[in-house]
């Protein structure tokens, strides 16, 4: 067999469009400088994008194909506070809570890459608490609407499809938030315990200060916030 001299220098990765072409045609792994964990999380999020995309399209079809008037979200989701009706106020608070949780998550990722164990775990805990608060407010919103007579098959104010769309879309989003909260607590616990600083592999860590799992967790969490941006615009503001 012929001797093969292995080049010790790492291969060059061109930037920009040339890099895009090179990566996809390289006959090797396509996603360079990205771990499999991160690439797979992105692919999961892409498929989730399609799921939520299809829910929103189904909602659009239900709404624009019915001759009945659609309930006015601004009034349906209003709260009576201090003698005045505040339109959409609960939804606005929920939006700010979720954005804040995204902020704390981004800070947690930053701390993780500085290998600051305490702050990372603490910021993830805050993120989980904000997420739990969001789910709590959603539970309140659901109970309020159910007590007012909203059902998947009807409601007091107009088109019957309103309830089905509402419960389906916000329910799936709430489920995502809940799963995120559970995983945040799990990962935060592991970070706090020092699992990511061991000099051997452990669950979620390749050892020796590999905190990438925190960033991957963050990707999921930011996606939950991202989906809410679209639900807020199309369901609550339409």
């Amino acid at each position: 067999m012929a001797d093969v001299t292995l080049k010790k220098t790492p291969p060059e990765h061109p930037e920009g469009l040339a890099g895009f072409v090179a990566d996809w045609s390289s006959d090797q792994r396509t996603f360079k400088q990205v771990s499999w964990g991160k690439a797979m999380m992105w692919i999961l999020l892409l498929s989730d994008t399609f799921i939520f995309g299809i829910f929103l399209v189904a909602y659009m079809v239900a709404r624009s194909s019915t001759p009945e008037t659609w309930p006015n979200a601004s009034e349906v989701f209003a709260l009576h506070i201090g003698g005045a009706d505040m339109p959409l106020i609960l939804i606005a608070i929920m939006t700010f809570v979720l954005i804040s949780s995204s902020g704390t998550m981004a800070m947690a990722v930053n701390s993780a890459y500085r290998r600051a164990r305490g702050p990372t775990a603490l910021l993830m805990l805050v993120t989980a608490l904000l997420g739990a608060g969001f789910v709590g407010m959603q539970a309140f919103e659901w109970s309020k609407l159910i007590s007012e007579g909203v059902r998947p098959w009807g409601n007091p104010w107009g088109a019957e499809q309103f309830g089905a769309s509402f419960f389906m879309i916000t329910g799936f989003h709430g489920t995502h938030v809940t799963i995120g909260v559970i995983f945040l607590l799990l990962v935060a616990h592991r970070v706090w315990r020092g699992d990511f600083d061991l000099d051997r592999r452990s669950w979620l860590s390749r050892g020796n200060g590999d905190y990438e799992s925190v960033e991957i967790m963050g990707l999921y969490w930011h996606f939950v916030d991202l989906v809410w941006v679209f639900i807020f615009a199309f369901f609550y503001l339409w």
């Binding site: 990205v34 995309g53 194909s65 995204s102 930053n110």
Partner: protein, 121 residues
């Protein structure tokens, strides 16, 4: 989406030699956080001020896209990833727009048949 368009590059906090970490200044995150607050408040105001029609929709969609862009680009670090990943993840969702167009025609037709066939008189 050009990687060089941001003012700084990710520091190669390489762990295990397999990938690069995404280490960015906290100031940038705080700035985006603030911007998201402002944009959310603005889209809430669109509803509160009861803007209607084209103005309402263009404002809501602009604020929505700006928020989505900020989250994906900065919080999810897409601005610093290689284009191979960015295009693989960000282009496919545009297919949904085609689906939306198809379903707009479909629901127009359904509405028409409902209006003509479900006559209440």
């Amino acid at each position: 989406m050009e990687q060089s368009s941001m003012e700084h590059q990710p520091q190669a906090a390489t762990v295990g030699g397999t990938h690069e970490g995404q280490q960015h200044p906290i100031r940038l995150y705080l700035m985006v956080w603030g911007l998201l607050f402002v944009l959310s408040a603005a889209s809430y105001l669109v509803d509160y001020m009861e803007f209607q029609g084209g103005l309402r929709w263009s404002l809501i969609l602009i604020f929505m896209m700006l928020k989505a862009g900020l989250i994906v680009a900065v919080f999810m670090h897409m601005a610093w990833e290689r284009l191979a990943l960015g295009y693989a993840i960000l282009l496919p969702p545009f297919i949904i727009l085609v689906f939306v167009v198809i379903m707009v025609f479909e629901s127009d037709y359904t509405l028409l048949t409902r209006l003509t066939e479900f006559a209440t008189q």
